[in-house]
Structure formats: C-alpha cells, structure tokens
C-alpha cells in the first residue's frame, strides 16, 4: 500500500503521458519536451526488453532530393509514394502518406540531434543504401541513444508499467490504469500519446483473427506488444483502420524462438530452390519476383499450408548465394534421405523434385536479374532462377510464418489525433507508430517504413500533445492540413 501511494504521488502532475517506449514513443516524448511539456513515459517491459520491435530494426526509409551523409543518390517524393502505392496496392491515405514522406526528409537529422548515429552512405548489407538510412549498431543502439537523451532532458521513464485500462470521457482522456511492478496504479495527465505497438504478441487475439493456425505463428519481435491499449480505445468507440488479419508476415526458419528471434531468423534461399509443404508438394512459384519483393508474401503462403510449415530445398549450387543463416540446414546426399530426416513423405518429395527437374528449361542463371531459367508445363511454375536440384549434398530449411507486426489500428488525422467513430476528433489523444501505421499501410510493406511512420507521427503526436496540454484552447500550427483532412 505504501508503495502504491508513493508511486501515485510520484506520477502526478505530468502534462503529457506517453504509453509505450519504442521508436514512436521516444520520438513523441522528446518532441513533447521540445514543446515545453513535462513528460511521463510508461513502458510495460523491464529495462532490458524496452523499445519493443524498434530494438530489432536496422534502418528507416527517407525521402531525399540529393545524396546525404547517410544515403546515396536521390529518392524523391514521387519515387517514395510510388513505392507505397505499389506495396499497398492503393490501400493508403494519400494525404497522410505524402505528409509522412515529406517529413521523412528531416528524420535522420532530428534523430542525430538526440545522439542516434548512422552508418555512412553506401554501407549496409542490403542494397538499400539509396532509399534507407542504416543505424550504426542497429535499432537497439538507436533506442539506447534515445533513452540516454530522454534521461538528459528530464523525461520520467517507468519500466514494468503496463497500461491495462483507459478512462476517457467524451473523447477527452482523463487517466490510465497501469500495472506498475504488478501494482494497479491510476495515472493522469493533460494529454495522452499512445505508441504501444500492434497486437502481434497477443496470441489469443491472433487466434481470434486467424483461427487455430495462429498457434503455429512465430513472433519475430517483442513479447510485450499485446495490443491492450489498442483494444481499450477501440472498445471506447475510436475508429479503426485496416484489418486484424493485415500485417507484415514473412517466412522464417521454423526452428526460431516463439518471440524475439529478430532479424537472424530470416531465410533468403526460397528463390534459389524448391519449397514443399509437409505433404511433399509444391504450392507456389518460388521464382515469381526478386526475393525482397516476395519476402513478405511467403509468410502468408506458408500459413495457408497444413500445420503452417514449409521446407525450402536447395542443392550445393545454391550454397553461399544467400545471406548466412543462424541455424544450420539439414543435409543429405539424396533427396530421399533429406525428406526422411525431415519426416516428410519420401516418395512424394522425390516425385515432386523429379517432376520439377524434368520441367526445368535450359537458360542462363543470374540471380541479380529476372533471368530466363524457368520451368515448362509445371504447376505451379517456377518462373525464374529455376535450376535442377542435382548437385549433392542437398540441403533443406524448415519454414514457418513469422509475424512482424499487425496493421489493425486507430484512425488518425494529420495531427496524429485519434478519431472517434464517424470521424469526430478526440480532444487530447494522439497516436504514433505501429498502433496507427495501418493509416498508411493498409497492406504490404516497404522496408524501413515502420520506423519512418513512427518517427514522423511520434514527433507530431508529441508536439501536438504538448500544445494541447499547455494551451488547451490554442489553435494548432497545422490548421491547413486539418482542413484538407476534414475534406477527405
């Protein structure tokens, strides 16, 4: 009880409350301090596990009209928007997307001013040096810099503080209930920023959305994004965006841990071989397009297979042509032995590979282009990089769906203000990051855009929340854009 009283009195008097300490939350908290507010940040994870999925990131996508210190060439608004349109197949809010794209030009400098460091241009393992800026040391280094900055500027950070309920009256936020070190605590503030991620770590909710197959999903990032704040706000009558089954899901090594496996569980060999399900049958064109473009559909493809597993078979010719893997592949001198090791129906697998080998047409293999190595008369076809599996030893990697993050979120306007059902604005509730990424990503994904959305909306949310808290009657600086949005 004493503890409770202490933490309650401790945590009163703040202007802005930020819930969730990932990239979006820290951007919001720092920007609220810039706006003169007193800021409290509640983070559900213990200190080491802070910064949710942001801890696992590597880069962010930024528009730039000329080379910068950290990115090569130019990546214009139109280039960027075209990429967004193509990955989302038009399921985006053009106004918010373009606003994010334009604001992304400032991101690296702003992050840099808080000590976030970037690799020099042209560095980077992937060929994304033009469109993306890479954090020196990755996302955890970035978040460490942010947290150091937060401490310097006087943001109060509380770990082990999970928000489980919200008190909102007539679209006006009053307080939250948080479990702080397990003790239920009421925390109020003048404005609220929610940046607590999607619901990817909430296995029950995933099951609700996907059915029993969700039991076989692996969660690539944090175990703490349970979507409790999102659920509360939706239940309180906020407008939702996107859909519970939308999100970023890729095929990763089936041996990965349930949570937090992160980047190292990726497998990049699909397009170099043949993928079968646990019946031993192929189910999709492995060579449809370049791997980075197809990376994000294979999670769903595998999810649709029995038991949500797949097996990528390659032969010795493919070894060394893709990024090294965390887990060693299964290995055997015949396809049959390999299938046996994997407990797959040996004769079906052998027949599948034989049929595939027989269908492979002569061509000139080149993994850098959409080459002319394809199959004929095979269903499904393999349209590029189709080489016979004929050089032992043979290798196989098991695949499972790996969920990165979910898109079902809160609808916001360009002030990052959460909207109620019917489009009416809330008074002092703002959202940033995964929890509202669905406004821009109705579906699909462009590498690095998660952090971009979090940074841009985090900054806006923090600034607007500070303004709302300190000058509740004042007008916002982005009136014009609000008008545009209202016309939507």
């Amino acid at each position: 009880m004493k503890h409770l009283e202490k933490s309650m009195s401790d945590l009163s008097g703040f202007d802005v409350l930020v819930v969730g300490g990932g990239n979006a939350g820290l951007a919001a908290a720092l920007s609220a301090i810039e706006g003169g507010a007193k800021v409290l940040l509640l983070e559900s994870a213990p200190e080491w596990f802070r910064a949710g999925n942001s801890r696992h990131t590597r880069d962010l996508r930024c528009m730039h009209d000329a080379p910068t210190r950290v990115m090569s060439g130019a990546y214009t608004e139109e280039d960027f928007y075209k990429d967004v349109l193509s990955v989302t197949q038009g399921k985006t809010n053009e106004h918010l997307a373009r606003m994010t794209i334009r604001a992304s030009t400032e991101c690296t400098d702003w992050m840099g001013s808080y000590g976030v460091r970037f690799q020099k241009a042209l560095g980077g393992t992937l060929q994304l040096g033009r469109t993306n800026a890479f954090f020196l040391g990755g996302g955890k280094a970035m978040m460490n810099a942010y947290y150091d900055a937060a401490e310097r500027v006087g943001i109060r950070v509380v770990y082990n503080a999970e928000v489980i309920a919200l008190n909102v009256k007539d679209g006006e936020f009053q307080s939250v209930t948080a479990l702080i070190d397990g003790v239920s605590t009421e925390v109020g503030a003048k404005a609220l920023v929610v940046s607590s991620g999607g619901f990817e770590s909430n296995l029950e909710w995933l099951k609700e959305a996907w059915g029993p197959m969700a039991d076989n999903f692996l969660i690539r990032g944090t175990a703490y994004n349970k979507g409790k704040v999102l659920r509360c706000l939706l239940d309180l009558g906020m407008e939702s965006i996107s859909d519970a089954k939308e999100g970023h899901m890729v095929a990763i090594d089936g041996r990965s841990p349930k949570f937090d496996g992160g980047i190292v569980t990726r497998l990049d060999c699909v397009s170099l071989g043949v993928v079968v399900n646990n019946k031993g049958e192929r189910f999709y064109d492995e060579g449809e397009d370049f791997w980075p473009k197809r990376y994000a559909i294979w999670g769903r493809l595998v999810a649709e297979q029995p038991d949500q597993v797949g097996y990528s078979f390659i032969d010795s010719k493919a070894m060394g042509k893709f990024m090294p893997t965390l887990f060693k592949p299964y290995e055997a001198n015949t396809i049959g032995d390999l299938a046996q090791q994997l407990k797959l129906p040996v004769d079906v697998v052998e027949a599948t590979i034989q049929a595939y080998n027989a269908a492979v047409q002569p061509g000139t293999f080149n993994h850098e282009i959409l080459d002319d190595c394809s199959t004929t008369g095979l269903k499904p076809a393999k349209s590029h990089w189709a080489l016979k599996l004929d050089k032992p030893p043979y290798y196989a990697y098991p695949l499972k769906p790996g969920l990165t993050f979910t898109y079902l979120g809160l609808m916001v306007n360009d002030r990052a203000m959460v909207l109620r059902k019917g489009g009416e604005r809330t008074k002092n509730i703002f959202a940033a990051g995964e929890i509202m990424a669905g406004n821009i990503l109705g579906m699909g994904y462009a590498a690095g855009i998660g952090v971009t959305i979090g940074t841009v909306f985090g900054r806006i949310a923090g600034r607007e929340a500070a303004m709302q808290a300190l000058h509740p009657k004042g007008t916002s600086v982005v009136v014009q854009e609000v008008a545009i949005h209202a016309a939507r």
Binding site: K120, L126, K140, F290, F322
Partner: protein, 370 residues
Amino acid sequence: MLPAELLEEGQHLMAVCNSCRYCEGFCAVWQSMETRSIFEEKDLNYLANLCHNCSECYYSCQYSPPHEFAINPPKTFARLRAYTYELYAWPRPMATAFHKNGLKVTLLMVLILVAVMSSASFLLGGRLFMTVHDGNFYKIVPHMVMSVAFAVVGTFSALALLIGFLRFWRNVGESHSTLASPGAIATAAKDIFTLVNLDNGGDGCSYPKEKSSEALKWFHHATFYGFLSCFIATTLGAFYYFVLGQHGAPAFTSLPVIFGTIGGLGLIVGPIGLWIMMQRRNEEIVDKSQNGMDLSFIVLLVAISISGLLLLVLRQTAAMGSLLLIHLSFVMTLFLSMPYGRFVHGIYRSGALLKWSLERSRQKKVKAPA
C-alpha cells in the same frame, strides 16, 4: 586445439552475428566477418585479436543476455585472445604461468633480479650505497655489464616475440610471403597508430561503461607513445655512448633525457588511467581470469616509469644505487615477461590489423543476393 567449449561459443557468436550484421559499422571485426561463411579456429583466433574490446557491440546487441541467444562478443573474444596468447608463446609454459598467476610471477621475477643484482654488486665491491656526485650511474653498474645483460635479455625477448608473431601469422592462415606487402603495412600502421577501431564512427567506445567515451583511446595513446618515447630515449642513449663516445651522465637538456621524461610521464598517466578504467568496467564483459595478467603489466610499466624518473631526480644522492638496481630489475622483468604477458596484445593486434589490411585489398563481401 581450441577447447571444444570455447570453439562452440565462438561459432555460436559468429552464427548469430553473421546473420545479423547490424554492427558492421563499428569496427574491422564485423567487416571481416562478413567476408566469411565458415568459422574455424583460425578465423576465430584472428577475429578475436582484431577486436579492440571497445564493447560498443555488446550494448547495441538485441541478443546479449538475458536473450536466449546470450551472445557477448567482447567477452568471447577476450577469452579467445587469452587462449591465443598461450598458443603462440615461445616457450609456451611461460605464458601459461603468466596467464594463471601474472602478478605473483612478476613480483617473484623482480625479487630474484633485485637479489641477484645486489649480491653481484656487493661481490664486485659494494658500491651500491655510494653517492656519485656527477650522477653517472655507470660507476655503480659498469656499462659493459649493463649492456651485455640487456643485450642478452633483449635479444631473447625480441626473438620470443618474433616467434610468437610468426606463429600467429601462420595460425590465422597467412604465409610468410604475404608479410612483404608495403602498402598493407602502411595501412595497418595507420590503424595501429590511431587506434581507429576504438572510434566506432567518431564517438569513442562504450568503455569502461556504456556511455561513449574516448578515455580508453587517449590513455592508451599515452601508454603506447610513452613506451615508444622511452624506447627512443634508450636507443639514443646507446647511440650517444657508443657512437658519440659520451660516457658521462646525459645532461637534463639532452635528447635521451627529454624523451625519457616525456615517455616516463606518459607511462605513468596512461597505465594508471587504464587501470582506473579497468576497475570501473562492466563486469559482464570481462574475462576475469585475465585480471592478474593485466594488472601485472600495468604495475610494471608504472613501476619502471616512477623509478626511472626518481633516478633522474635523485641521481646525485646516496639513494641512486639502490634505485638504479630496482629500476633495472623492473625493466629486466618487463623484457623477460613481454612475450608471455599482456604485452603480446600489441603484437597480435598489430598482426591482425595487418591481415585485415591485406584482406581489404584481396576480398569482396559475401553479399546478400539482390
């Protein structure tokens, strides 16, 4: 052969890091790692010596403990380094003794040397406590005796270090012929003299604690250049004696004294700074079994400099004889222990930097396909 458990630890580290690569901007280790897909003992031994123990990667790592992958690059590399120090040393048992009981072995050596020298001095006429008004310590230990003794010990030490270096060079998969690469040597020299791998893109390193700091680099520069300066002073001293025939005590304004003084000060400030940082460093990244070896090296360097500077100040007093004897014992101990103690880190790190500079001119990355 690398103990199986250490080999496994090293290979696990590389499996995680090489499929992650987030640290590639920090230092040469990661860039060199990316050119490999298989990590055998020779690769681990090389990368471990290429690591400058700045710890930046540890704090940036989403897979360090308590994550179940539980990797700890600086600590694993430190453990591997200690193993290589023993592997390359000639004769090897000496290194084992130093690694296990660095401080005791060092003190024992100093004591034996003091005992031997003072009894020798007594036998030769007991001039040990005589005041020498012109400060010429060759009146205490005849120049011939000193030269011969140090020539023998110095040659032995240099030979042992050379053998160690060549063992390292072959062990990490290079041949003697690749040593003759002036361009690569020049690049490596630049990396060595600037300690560029402690920069991590400009902000220093996470040592002794997480917060970025350049202290390690600057204290090391003081140590390293202090050592070089003392080396130059000694060489000049010999030059003055043998070539210029100046047999008296060098003047306070002479080059040997100036270099010696600057070097001595560097070798006090630097190692003490490094020692203070060692006290503060994060225990999680430390291979504690090496503390004795580290400490004995630092104690020796500081003891040499303090006794050397005292000798300069008190060279016209009665204390000079005993000070000289102690100073010489320290120096002699350093020479004898160099091939077996922490000093070799400089040799193998330099070797690793040379290999890295050769690799840069040879290889291309194993890149992710488009």
